[in-house]
């Protein structure tokens, strides 16, 4: 097995976080695709993440780590001499961890209310909640180019992959995220100028057609 292996799924924002962090640190790794849409999980996944059986899983020198933000923090600690994603001071680190935790608590579930439902109460609630969360994040960004300041940091890595699902939310929910959070979309574009991000994120339209619509059919969310 290669020294660094990432078990991942192409359309997962959680997997993209790990990809960006590894790229930022210039770490060479072997990418292994889990074909989640087939409904089958590989023995390697079940063995390396028996608790959750989910991707991403990072395997470093044979030792597995799961949960995307735990993985990103591990990457930060294990390759600490390049491109720090967290500031040096404990308070700055606590703020970054707080906002990454906020992204984790809100964005995926609120987005799911939109894509996994037909037009109606639940979908409307999802739209309202998602926009509130994104506006709060936009406020936290303020005038900085990135959440991490002059360069991308932990919160940028935690949040930017969800951009690939925005097109799906907007199309299914019939609304525009850019209209209400223009500064956030400007921030996304700045992130995409970095190779670590542009190479890790997938095409939002592909996510819509090959993932979200497929999931909706598979689970009967129609």
């Amino acid at each position: 097995m290669a020294e660094v292996v990432l078990l991942d799924f192409w359309g997962s924002p959680f997997g993209m976080r790990a990809r960006i962090a590894l790229a930022e640190k210039g770490v060479k790794y072997e990418y292994k695709e889990e074909h989640l849409l087939t409904g089958k999980k590989t023995p390697l996944l079940l063995e390396t993440n028996p608790v959750h059986k989910k991707i991403p899983v990072l395997i470093h020198n044979g030792k597995p780590i799961s949960e995307s933000l735990v993985i990103v923090q591990y990457i930060e600690d294990a390759w600490s001499d390049t491109a720090p994603l967290l500031p040096a001071d404990p308070y700055g680190r606590s703020q970054a961890r707080f906002w990454a935790d906020f992204v984790d608590k809100k964005i995926y579930d609120q987005g799911k209310k939109i894509w996994a439902n037909k037009a109606g109460e639940v979908q409307e609630a999802g739209k309202k909640e998602l926009m509130e969360s994104l506006k709060l994040l936009e406020g936290e960004l303020g005038e900085k180019p990135f959440f991490g300041g002059e360069t991308i940091g932990y919160v940028d890595v935690a949040l930017v992959p969800f951009y690939t699902w925005f097109y799906s939310f907007e199309t299914i929910g019939n609304f525009s995220i850019e209209a209400e959070c223009p500064k956030l979309i400007e921030w996304v574009k700045r992130c995409l100028e970095r190779e670590s991000v542009s190479k890790s994120l997938v095409d939002p339209e592909k996510v819509y057609v090959d993932l979200i619509l497929v999931l909706k059919k598979m689970y009967g969310y129609e």
Binding site: H60, E67, V70, Q73, Y74, P90, S94, D101
Partner: protein
């Protein structure tokens, strides 16, 4: 001079986690009791995003989310570390603390799921006194609900999740945990907690 304040609620294991960490490190702090049923201006100002306890204030800077606060405390007062130093072990501690946190949020769900969680946690003890090894670490602190509050909840609700015959290893950990000299200081009095839970578990949606 260092100024440390903690906004907490005596019932909440989340704010007790922070107290436990501060006491383990010998850090003095001013405790400010909050009433979550009637949120104070201070709480709304210090934690506008979630409006919950605990909130730590250190030299005027505010922080929320108990696990985030624990990491801050460990980094600011490095004596008696609660997180391991090496990256892999640190990642494992963070993984298990998060696992417990997620299970906390699913508290309202099935007993079977909880039992499965306890089985998994027993395995994680690996014959050690605490999840942190010989001494208390972040995972023990995160598991404080299981260590103490769960016993009270079980008494009040009549639900028997963790019994000595089903989970002897976990019960042994619970014994060690509540007997630990520093942990003892952070546990709310059992009879008061019992009364509080009795009042609350009667209500349709119990959340603190």
């Amino acid at each position: 001079m260092e100024e440390v304040k903690l906004l907490g609620w005596w019932v909440s294991p989340f704010s007790r986690r922070v107290e436990l960490a501060l006491k383990l490190k010998g850090v003095g702090y001013e405790y400010i009791e909050q009433d979550l049923a009637h949120k104070s201006q201070l709480l709304l100002e210090y934690n506008p995003v979630h409006k919950k306890v605990p909130v730590l204030v250190h030299n005027g800077k505010t922080m929320a989310e108990s696990l985030v606060i624990l990491e801050y405390i460990d980094e600011t007062w490095p004596n008696n570390p609660i997180l391991p130093r090496n990256p892999y072990d640190k990642a494992m501690a963070r993984f298990w603390a998060q696992f417990i946190e997620e299970k906390e949020e699913e508290r309202g769900k099935l007993v079977e799921e909880a039992s499965q969680c306890f089985i998994t946690l027993e395995g994680e003890l690996k014959g050690n006194k605490f999840f942190g090894g010989e001494e208390i670490g972040m995972v023990d602190i995160a598991a404080n609900f299981i260590g103490y509050w769960l016993g009270v909840v079980q008494e009040v609700s009549g639900m028997e999740l963790v019994t000595r015959d089903k989970f002897p290893v976990l019960c042994k950990w619970m014994d060690e945990f509540v007997e630990h000299s520093v942990v003892k200081e952070t546990l709310p009095p059992r009879d008061e907690l019992h009364a509080e839970f009795e009042a609350r578990l009667g209500a349709p949606s119990w959340k603190y």
